[in-house]
């Protein structure tokens, strides 16, 4: 009997237990915990901003964004090395096919917010809610732009994909046309512009930041439509519109780029805090409060995010650790100056009492971008000298044609060395800042020049080690928006637009301390100005590609440096224009105007075919 009751009680208890298990788990953070309060949304957005594909100091064109990578100190492995604005450890082919960038996991994180956040709209004031949602749209556009500039058309995924709820067939999204992707980016940025406010929050987007990026993206689309229809590699992907934009779309995109750039006017301005134009241009990249900075990325030692720009752009003579391994070319310098005055009318090398005389009268912006021989950093002079001529009796051309061994040039007349400590009659053969006899060693310049842009001259030498630089990366500054505007204006070509381009270019030149342009300017004027203003900021690689001139500019091209020598019997310096020591030959294959889709993704999703032409 007793047992019977016991069983009944047990059954009763068993049923009752079922009612109480539906309790939200306390160890899992759910949407309503995140999307209903500012702290939650801020942290969610921080997780997105933290993974943005920003091509900053540590970005490498063949390795990617290097988050947490042990080789992320090698800041000299930067895209400038691919273009000839500097030379370093790359040949073009080493990095032209990218690194298999495919950030759809990050895009899903953004889509998750765009899909789910609106359910919690009433938890915020409309302004706050719109700002947050606008940032999500901005971030999604940023990711898609990073994709489209590499691959052309990629699959547009704006819904929330789920597996295993959806079948593999459903998830195998085919490519969209390149034009569709650019239009999608424009639409997302338009949403961002209309939703966001104009408050300037450090390292985050606002209305005008989105407009700035829209000007960049639309300019890319316009030039690809205009020039990609003339110079291209044919193939299935091109025929189907995955690689390439119809030429008749160009004007529409240039107009959109112009309008977006114009929208930013008055909300940011060129940095002009210091009357000394050279110092002003140096500080522009170091002053955190610059009104020119639009979208930035910050670094700190405490979070382990610090970079190594100071340690890897100049030689150990001025730093505490690291190596330099990329050096500006004389070719870039000549974009500013034309041929430097290093040769007399009779062809003999001009004699200098002091190396720093070379810098006299050069454009302040150039001097702020590049360290010339004779410049100083942290109290030390860039005493660049490749060697000593006991005498120099001929012309520069004759000496160079004979590989530094002219007829008057008896054996041992030119003394060079691979050893920094080697002396000749009590004098160093090579400078402490370079140059070696040959390219065997890195760390000291191979062109006679060093990068100055972004170098923190205020830092003590002892603090210029690896992972000790915390200067901000400026991913978008107002100068670029002005250049986007000028280029779009020139491409549109009407009289009022051309006049606008001229006034914009002269704003930049005035700030730079350069001679202002008068009269007719051409598209080449604007492009050269862009190369000068944005040197080493990782733009030129993409510019050469979108203008579709990379295969002409980099056609077995060699780049040059400026080599100082001391002449013993005259106690003077001369400078010779010689091929950079690495003797690299830069060659760009046309198929590299698009990177190949990553092989692993093609294997997973056959709908991504056809791959880009030539691959």
């Amino acid at each position: 009997m007793k047992i019977k009751y016991l069983v009944l009680i047990l059954i009763g208890l068993a049923f009752g237990a079922c009612n109480k298990l539906d309790v939200a788990p306390l160890n899992i953070i759910k949407d309503q915990d995140i999307f209903t309060n500012e702290t939650g949304v801020n942290s969610y957005l921080a997780s997105i901003y933290g993974t943005m594909p920003i091509e900053d100091f540590i970005y490498r064109p063949e390795r990617g964004f290097m988050n947490g990578d042990g080789e992320r100190w090698q800041n000299f492995m930067q895209p400038g090395n691919l273009t000839g604005e500097m030379v370093g450890r790359y040949n073009v082919g080493d990095a032209a096919q990218g690194f298999g960038f495919w950030p759809y996991d990050k895009i899903r994180t953004i889509n998750y917010m765009i899909v789910n956040f609106p359910k919690y709209a009433k938890a915020f004031t409309p302004d706050k809610y719109n700002q947050f949602l606008g940032e999500a749209y901005f971030c999604r556009a940023y990711f898609y732009f990073a994709l489209v500039k590499r691959y052309g058309g990629v699959p547009i995924v704006k819904t929330l994909q789920s597996y295993p709820e959806q079948s593999i067939e459903d998830l195998s999204v085919p490519r969209n046309k390149e034009q569709e992707v650019y239009d999608f980016i424009a639409a997302d940025l338009d949403s961002a512009i209309s939703l966001m406010g104009d408050a300037n929050i450090r390292a985050r987007a606002n209305k005008y930041v989105a407009a700035g990026y829209k000007s960049r993206a639309m300019l890319y689309a316009g030039t690809i439509a205009k020039y990609g229809t003339v110079n291209y590699v044919d193939g299935d992907a091109r025929q189907k519109g995955f690689a390439g934009i119809p030429a008749d779309q160009a004007t529409r995109y240039f107009q959109a780029a112009y309008d977006a750039a114009k929208l930013v006017e008055g909300h940011y301005s060129l940095y002009r805090k210091n009357d000394n134009k050279e110092q002003n241009y140096v500080d522009l990249f170091l002053d955190q409060s610059s009104p020119e900075n639009m979208y930035v990325k910050d670094y700190s030692m405490s979070t382990g995010t610090a970079h190594s720009w100071d340690a890897t752009m100049t030689c150990r003579y001025m730093t505490a650790d690291g190596d330099a391994a990329c050096y500006p070319t004389l070719d870039l310098v000549e974009k500013f100056t034309g041929p430097l005055p290093i040769t007399n009318p009779d062809g003999t090398p001009k004699r200098f009492n002091d190396r720093s005389e070379l810098k006299a009268g050069l454009e302040p912006r150039l001097l702020a971008t590049i360290y010339f021989p004779g410049a100083t950093l942290r109290g030390k002079e860039f005493d660049v000298q490749r060697g000593i001529y006991k005498k120099f009796n001929g012309t520069a051309a004759e000496e160079l044609a004979n590989n530094n061994t002219s007829s008057w040039d008896q054996p041992d007349n030119l003394v060079v060395s691979g050893d920094i400590n080697q002396l000749y009659n009590g004098r160093r053969v090579m400078g402490l800042a370079g140059m070696y006899a040959t390219a065997g060693n890195d760390n000291r310049t191979r062109t006679g020049l060093y990068v100055r842009k972004y170098i923190n001259y205020k830092a003590d030498q002892a603090t210029c080690g690896l992972y000790q630089s915390v200067q901000t990366w400026i991913d978008m500054r107002y100068a670029e928006v002005l250049l986007n505007r000028a280029e779009a204006a020139m491409e549109l070509g009407t009289a009022d637009k051309t006049a606008d381009a001229l006034s914009v270019i002269n704003q930049l030149r005035d700030r730079a301390g350069a001679a202002v342009a008068t009269g007719n300017i051409t598209i080449d004027t604007v492009r050269t100005e862009r190369m000068k203003e944005l040197a080493f900021e990782h733009h030129h690689w993409w510019d050469l590609r979108r203008w579709r001139i990379a295969d002409k500019v980099l056609d077995n091209t060699r780049f040059y440096g400026i080599y100082p020598y001391w002449i013993e019997n005259e106690n003077k310096y001369i400078m010779l224009k010689q091929e950079e020591m690495g003797h690299r030959s830069f060659f760009f294959e046309k198929k590299w105007y698009y990177e190949p889709l990553p092989g692993g993704e093609l294997g997973k999703n056959p709908n991504l075919y056809p791959n880009n032409p030539g691959y």
């Binding site: 294959e589 046309k590 056959p606 075919y609 030539g614």
Partner: protein, 236 residues
Amino acid sequence: MKKLINSLLVAATLCMATSCSKKDNYAGPDATFSGNLINSVTGKNLLTETGGFQIQLDELSWSSTPVPYNIPAKPDGSFKDTRIFSGHYRVIPRNGAFWPVDTTEIDISGNTTKDFTVTPYMEIKNFTWKLSGTTLQMTFNLFAPKTEGLPRVIDVQPFINNTQFVGSGATIYDVYTGPNILGINANYSDEMAKTTYTITVPNLLSGRTFYARVGVRVDDSNKKFNYSEIVKVDVP
């Protein structure tokens, strides 16, 4: 107990050992695919260089979107690969200095040969050379078999090497090629066809034997060269 464990271990070892004996029963890459690229104008092999074109193979036996496999050109205009999986392939010569051709499908097994006929963009005709002292002078005409839609002619380059493997990828570039490039940068015209061009390469090293040729390229997708034949130059 210990006995039981031991016997269990023995049994497990046997099981695992036998599971290793499964064999890969797919055939290895034992087929050979070879052939030539025939110049449709001359009927001879296309004048090219190592890697001057590729034969792209897409194996359709397993997938309609296979990973492409490329066989590079040999310097005599032929190609050969002795380690190909037998199967059904889509093949196309590509990335060379000739007008695009259509793909063909072919079964490869054993020893398969296939010749492709292509029309080069340009030909170097009436190629002659003479050596005066250490200066090499090469004269030639440019001829385009098909002019309609021909991309702009970029330049003619001299290639000089100290082996008979000479071309854009095997040349003493800095000294002999780079300074002596003949830029053209024009569309092909009747006038161009009538012009006799000369490329002069000075200061060849005395006492050496060089191999020389010239190549012309047009601004197509690949910018590869159409070559003259190779000549042997003994510099006194």
